[in-house]
Amino acid sequence: MSAASAAPEPGLGALTLAVPRGALFSETLDRLDALGMATAEVRDNPRRLLFSGPDLGAGVERIVTMRPSDVPTYVEHGAADLGVTGKDVLLEAPSREVYELLDLGYGGCQMVVAARTGDDAMEESLRRLGVARIATKYPGIATRHFAATGRQAEIVEVKGSVELAPLTGLVDAIVDLTATGRTLVENGLEVREEIVGSTARLIANPVAHKLKAPAIDALVTSLRGLGR
């Protein structure tokens, strides 16, 4: 092999980590703090997206922040070596080629079917119209759930507050993520079916998982050491 290949290679080892803003943000940073990483800057700058420096610690030289649903995209393409995101996001995009390394345990929530309290619009639609109308931000999960339970559903994808959809008669029920169920209750909705539970997961890019194995393994081991 040439001399060039024997020289130390820049960037081979130090990690780029994708951190989700939103519900998982502060607990993710708590874990990184516990590993001895310097995350104060990330915490204190809600508008900045990219933080880099050799002093971040734990083998990480760059933290990039983004919405949780973007994390698998950045990781799949190798723009980040590792990322933290919810299992719900991974289930919604199952074709993403990322490795799921660790269940981080926090950010627990449930993907549920919910409908107006005491109202049987969904059952009635299924019985009389043969199909239920379901609003969701998770069309993949919703489609698979209704197919798996042998019911026909027309999935209506919405971007904002999905709780509004059954209240206005847009749909019969919703598929959404709930942690405490409070938003549902406040809008007169109740959980009808639990689809799947979700927690925060550590994911890796397949190529980085091989080329940066020592750094990734060290980080996984210390995260595992923190327990859930």
Binding site: S2, S5, S95, E100, L102, A208, A213
Partner: protein
């Protein structure tokens, strides 16, 4: 006017074309120089031919049509099956080894909206005749040298054993109906699901630890020493390959990866995947397929590898940018 292209296809304009030509010419020169003569096979094959080679290769085909007699034709999804057919048909009386290379398009179904091609240009080589580590080492060394010749400096090759995982599941007496899911979790390296699987199967602690560890056993030759019990035989085979790669100077670019599982089912021994730190996807891959030629009536061991030219080009461009 906007005239749409079929999904997964694209045009190439002169600047890119010039660079792609330069790259593929360099690879071609390397392959020819090592005695791998270039061949050309028809873009369309009978679906039956692809299915004879590998059911998944046939299913991966994305464009199908009928000919004037109602037979099903597929735009090939993979060159290796076509080469196996070619060797069985044209090299019947020839004394192996047969060394062949190609630079050709294949067509494979991929998920939409992922920016991935359905039409892709592959440069590859197939070594027919030599069995075991000797043949594997020749293919690995040549592809590494060809990439270096083409200007890559930081590329690596992942090497695993395509028969390891199936052998392990049989050895651990995992029930048939659980193997599909388990293979899926192993090949996707869903370690969280794998831990749950291992728990549910009620394996002995040793077996459970091994199953969960396999997808993380990757690195230098030292990982081969950590492969114990049912996977020790695979590790022995890979050690023999390591010795040969060390002798040819290719060992420092080699990452042993016991969890490496390739998509196609015809691999029987060593499997490869090519990486570059500048690109988040594998640049190519291949492996040993000792049973494929037998399916076409010429039972000969064989080993090959194919590079995705456009991904290699992307790696080349990224390496140049980094300096």
């Amino acid at each position: 006017m906007i005239h749409p292209l079929p999904p997964g296809t694209r045009d190439v304009l002169p600047t890119e074309m010039r660079e792609l030509r330069t790259l593929s010419d360099r690879l071609r020169v390397s392959f020819e120089g090592a005695g791998f003569g270039e061949v050309w096979t028809p873009l369309v094959e009978y679906e039956e031919t692809l299915r004879r080679g590998d059911d998944r290769a046939a299913r991966a085909g994305v464009y199908r049509m009928f000919d004037d007699r109602g037979r099903v034709l597929v735009l090939r999804s993979d060159m290796t099956v076509s080469i196996a057919r070619l060797v069985a048909t044209r090299y019947g009386g020839v004394q192996p080894p047969v060394r062949l290379s190609y630079l050709a398009h294949s067509y494979r179904a991929v998920e939409r909206g992922r920016g991935q091609a359905r039409e892709f240009l592959q440069g590859g080589l197939e070594l027919i005749g030599p069995a075991g580590a000797g043949g594997d080492a020749e293919v690995v060394s040549l592809v590494l040298a060809a990439l270096e010749e083409a200007g890559l400096r930081r590329h690596r090759i992942g090497v695993g054993d395509g028969s390891l995982v199936r052998g392990l599941l049989a050895e651990l007496e995992v029930p048939e109906d659980r193997r599909g899911t388990l293979l899926e979790h192993l090949s996707r390296r869903d370690l969280v699901a794998l831990e749950v699987d291992a728990e549910e199967l009620g394996l002995s602690p040793g077996a459970r630890d091994l199953l969960v560890a396999i997808p993380t056993l990757r690195g230098g030759p030292e990982v081969l020493d950590r492969a114990e019990g049912p996977v020790a035989r695979s590790a022995e085979g890979l050690k023999a390959l390591y010795e040969l790669l060390a002798a040819s100077g290719a060992a420092e670019r080699t990452i042993f990866d016991l969890g490496l599982v390739r998509e196609l089912g015809y691999y029987t021994g060593a499997v490869f995947e090519v990486y570059d730190p500048a690109v988040g996807f594998a640049l190519g891959g291949g492996g040993r397929y000792d049973e494929l030629l037998g399916r076409f009536g010429t039972p000969l061991p064989a080993c090959g590898i194919a590079l995705d030219i456009q991904r290699v080009h992307a790696a080349q461009a990224a390496e140049e940018r980094l300096g």
